[in-house]
């Protein structure tokens, strides 16, 4: 697998610290599946040395979209990329998310976690009944709302400060949506709740680890597939650096067996 250089066709800042690129790359656009990521070189030279793994947010004709948050030096360098620049990427990498048909699926994203879920949701809605929950600290942090709503599926939001949608964590909203006995449920409109309360057969989630752990705990035993983020070395399965402990011992390499893993089976 050779790294490829691709042109950035649309670089913009979606909200404070969150950036979006479209990359012109017909080969990757044709092959990539939801759940997969690209490993992006953020510098020309050896510093920083390693690539930065970024999940694919959407795919268009001959192009793929990456949405990422500036968290450290590497992503800060990447955020300086402008339309017309080229970036060096390796991919698509990782195991695609499981393909489902005819199921009730809940998609739950927190913060930047909404990004990889969009590509997944777009594919899932073709053959499944889909509900989408997007959470963030504030209204401004709710990502890709227009895109998710454009899918024609039910989209609900949650904000920690109550500036939009449900006032609370997206995991609480998920619990309310799934079970009528959630702690916040009592305060919700009963009729509306009954209309949407049904147990999904699968949940896809992406967000910070504490959010994912909280979701698993609240919704157990419903299977939760999570997009996990951890430091990676190679992204290709050769260095064994991105280990996530499994319940009952051992590790999963989530660049290889993930990044979408059954959260019920790992230690977060």
């Amino acid at each position: 697998m050779k790294p490829v250089r691709c042109a950035v066709t649309e670089a913009r800042e979606l909200c404070a610290g969150v950036f979006s690129f479209w990359l012109q790359t017909p080969e990757i656009a044709r092959r990539v599946k939801p759940g997969q990521f690209l490993n992006v070189k953020v510098s020309v030279g050896p510093d920083p040395l390693l690539r930065r793994p970024i999940s694919v947010c959407d795919v268009g004709r001959n192009r793929v979209r990456l949405v990422f948050r500036k968290v450290g030096r590497g992503t800060e360098m990447l955020a300086r990329v402008r339309t017309g620049d080229e970036v060096d990427v390796l991919g698509p990498l990782g195991k695609p998310a499981p393909e489902l048909r005819g199921q009730d699926v809940l998609v739950c994203g927190g913060g930047i976690g909404a990004a990889p879920l969009f590509f997944l949701a777009r594919r899932l809605k073709k053959a499944n009944r889909l509900r989408v929950l997007i959470g963030a600290r504030t209204r401004a942090g709710l990502l890709l709302l227009k895109e998710f709503r454009g899918l024609g599926v039910q989209v609900r939001t949650a904000t920690d400060d109550g500036s939009a949608g449900f006032h609370g964590m997206v995991t609480e909203l998920a619990e309310d949506q799934v079970r009528s006995r959630g702690p916040r449920a009592k305060r919700q409109n009963v009729e509306r709740r009954l209309a949407v309360s049904r147990e999904p057969s699968a949940i896809f989630a992406c967000g910070p680890k504490p959010m994912l752990a909280d979701l698993v705990r609240r919704l157990d035993p419903i299977p939760v597939w999570g997009f996990v983020e951890e430091r990676m070395g190679c992204g290709t399965g050769i260095c064994f650096c991105c280990a996530l402990p499994k319940k009952g011992g051992g590790h999963v390499r989530f660049c290889e067996e993930g990044p979408v893993v059954r959260l019920n089976e790992v230690v977060l």
Binding site: M1, K41, P46, L49, C234, I238
Partner: protein, 300 residues
């Protein structure tokens, strides 16, 4: 141009190897592996190991630190599940072996002697392998004992991978040579510690091994020093990112080079190193590597 290199009983098609721990077993990228001189496998221990808790990797300007902790399926699973697949590779397969006692190295060598693999790289230098508080590879006597025991158990080519952590590797190289090693690899990662900004160790395994471009000047120094001290071939390793780096290692006295950390950035890095060397050889009308290997000392 004859690009072949021979170490012990093993003939390698060219002088470029993928370094242990940085290329799995060569099975993820067989098209790359097949065009290299060989691949050195992840270290194999007698028992399976789950490795260290995450995080296992971090960066610093100049390279990375890792602390994978020798995660591997163990000797038996390696022989039954991995070897049948590596034997299909068209390059040489060198098995890196790590023991926790001197005797374990003997057991590993004895079991692998009957396997269709080409050579053993005896890892006396992993930061996680300790006896009496010191690395095996820091004591020439222990290196000699391990090498002698492995030599007794196998007729395969034996390469000893040395450390440069708190030891003069020319002393341990001489010990390996005296005990019957066919070659030595140096250097393995150097000890390193990364803190997380609040004073706690960043890596799950606490200490790590430094690799990447920052290692190269020191690795080159070690190769130059050891090549002058022993007659057996030296395999250079440490910060080889491109063919210019590889050429430096050959010039310093290495007969072969290993590409490690660069594989993490580009899985075709080792192949690019070989392509660059081949191009250099063609441009300079080399008939083999003799004119290059060790020329730094000849030109002193």
């Amino acid at each position: 141009m004859n690009p072949q290199v021979t170490i012990g009983r093993t003939e390698f098609a060219n002088p470029v190897l993928a370094a242990s721990g940085t290329f799995e077993f060569g099975l993820k990228f067989p098209a790359v592996a097949n065009r290299l001189g060989g691949v050195v496998t992840k270290a194999i221990t007698r028992e399976p190991r789950v490795g260290n808790p995450p995080p296992r990797i971090c960066e610093f300007p100049g390279g990375i630190l890792n602390s994978v902790g020798l995660e591997n399926p163990g000797l038996e699973a390696f022989c039954s599940d991995v070897v049948p697949r590596t034997r299909k590779l068209k390059c040489r397969v060198v098995v890196n072996v790590a023991g926790f006692t001197v005797e374990e190295y003997g057991e590993l060598a004895a079991r692998l002697d009957s396997q269709p693999v080409d050579a053993l790289e005896v890892n006396v230098s992993c930061p996680n392998v300790r006896e009496g508080g010191a690395l095996f590879g820091q004591q020439p006597k222990v290196v000699e004992a391990i090498t002698a025991l492995v030599r007794k158990q196998t007729t395969k080519t034996i390469i000893v991978k040395l450390t440069a952590n708190f030891v003069d590797p020319s002393e341990t190289a001489k010990a390996a040579e005296a005990a019957g090693a066919d070659g030595v690899t140096l250097i393995n990662t150097l000890f390193g510690l990364a803190l997380d900004g609040t004073g706690r160790p960043f890596l799950g395994g606490r200490n790590g091994g430094i690799s990447g471009p920052a290692l190269k000047p020191f690795a080159l120094f070690c190769v130059d020093r050891v090549a002058a001290a022993v007659k057996i071939p030296v395999i250079g390793c440490g910060g080889v990112m491109n063919s210019a780096d590889a050429l430096d290692f050959l010039s310093a006295g290495a007969m072969m080079v290993q590409v490690g950390t660069a594989n993490l950035v580009n899985p075709e890095a080792a192949l690019e190193v070989w392509n660059g060397l081949r191009q250099y050889a063609r441009q300079n009308r080399l008939s083999n590597w003799d004119r290059i290997v060790g020329r730094a000392r000849r030109q002193d």
